[in-house]
Amino acid sequence: MAKSDPEGVTDGANRSRIDDGSHGEELRADGPATAIDVDGLELVYSDGTAAVRGIDMAIPEGEFFGFLGPNGAGKTTTIKVFATLLSPTAGTVSVNGFDVRSESRKVRQSIGYMAQETSIDPELTAAENIRFACEAYGVSRGKRAARVSELLDLVDLADVADKRAEEFSGGMKKRLDAATALVHRPPLVFLDEPTTGLDPKARNRLWEYFRRINDLGTTIFLTTQYLEEADQLCERLAVILDGEIVADGSPADLKHEVGGEVLEVELEGGPAVRNRAATLAREFDAFATASVTETEAGISVTAETARQHGTDLLVALRDAELTVTGFNIRAPTLDDVFLAITGEELDTDEGEVPR
């Protein structure tokens, strides 16, 4: 049925939308459609803190985009500018073709936004929370009941639809929050660290759910602390550091840029031993461009030739009378990418994440 969705956000002038009853295909006359277009974005807080310092990015419709960076790098500030909660100090941002400054209400109509802190009304039931969101986003009266039960099913809260949200676990609250961000079937959804603080099971469940809505054509802009999450979900990533984008590309591209493979060596002995081993590895001829770091149990060497010459290094370490207790050669992960780019590790511990 080629029926247009009255809730589908269409500005009439330059876009029209065919909705097959689910998340429809966007049709645009003017070439490939861009969900978010950012040009020279800067944001300076009134205390002088420059949270974002000149960002340019273009995110095509339908993409699953990941935005990474350590705490305080400017992730949340950026996402709040996109969601019209903060006005840019300089630069232009257009979201779904609307300017965030001059057409902020149209932007708000056309996006879903899930804040970092779980935002639900604990005094209302799950169904009431979603119904309120339906009404707030102007979902027509006739569609509300169906939308509420459809979203409750999607996030597996149908059983507790009439329970008050204050009784829910953290994971259930997050899922309810996610559902309320989707009531108007926005073509673009912002998720600001949606799985922070969730147990792995709850996290997997949300991932599955985000993949599902992305498969239906929804553009997703995700910030996350968990590199595994970005690796699993995102087609493209950007890394922000001190308010500037320092790397972007697909997870595979970024891993490739790390430069080769990672050799991890475990050593017997204390910091002095690790330090000596690291010095040896840096001076090792076969690893001219290697980056060497000391880890908790030994050293880690990243080099193009790690696989070919890894054993040579082990021999060299033995000759220096260091005791190797274990070793492993592996492909780089996003953690390695992150370490290489930012010089610091993202806290990827399960559960508690210091903020």
Binding site: P6, G12, G138
Partner: protein
Amino acid sequence: MSTPSADDSRGPTGRPASGNTFLGDVWVNFKRWNLKAVRNPFVLVVSLVQPIIFLVLFTQVFGNVAGSAVNQGLPGVSYETYLLPAIAIQVALASAITSGVGLVNDIENGMFEKVLVTPMNRTAVFLGKTAAELFRIAVQIVIILGLGILLGAEIVTGLVGALGIVAVGILFSLWFVAFSNGLAIITRDQESTIIAANLLQFPLLFLSSAFLPLATLPDWIQTFARVNPVTYGVDAARSLMLDRDVMTVIDISWFGGTLDGVVPGLLVLIGLDLVLGAIAVSLLSRASSSDVK
């Protein structure tokens, strides 16, 4: 609605695609806050319990003593009748505090920001919330008036007077609603808002014409009572209750009757509502603006 075209931005009723209208947005928020009021025992009960305790205890404990003090100026008026309009104002005061508390809770649980990201009109959002609170205050005053009548108070002006007292109570509550919202935005903390508003409640009530005729109170209290909004609210409500001009702090004779006691009080309250309302609105719009802070 069968072919996609530029017109599809309009729904079947011809409204914009978002379906948001100003009145619709007011209604959505009005419903939400009423639902929350029914769910939250603090909001409904606590703001009623204290005034009820005052009404029962004051009339039973002080009734005889206070009654004779009242009778010196107002012969034949029972203390129940004298006190009831003051308790109605107390309800308005106590209940208005919960408006700010609701706002703080919304800020704390993220709903404030969540609502800002929706396409709802922001004025409509706060109008809906305030309307729900005023509606609740009206219901609570009606309950208190009913209870007072059961205890022996008499509204001389009957049903019209009772509705008038509800209206005075609502006008009175507005400035305190604005005040508690201002506190909420400035402190952004539930405890601070409750404590600050509650600390003010008792001095305001006792240092006014609420519980005893001003003439029987010390000079310093009389001086304070002149600038105390509670005096204006209570005297206006009491004039309606007794059907005579008992306004103690402004003496006019424009109408020659009960209205001389009601109108000046209302004018003062309206002025106060506008001033504090404007402050609260500007604080609210600053808190909800996207300008970098």
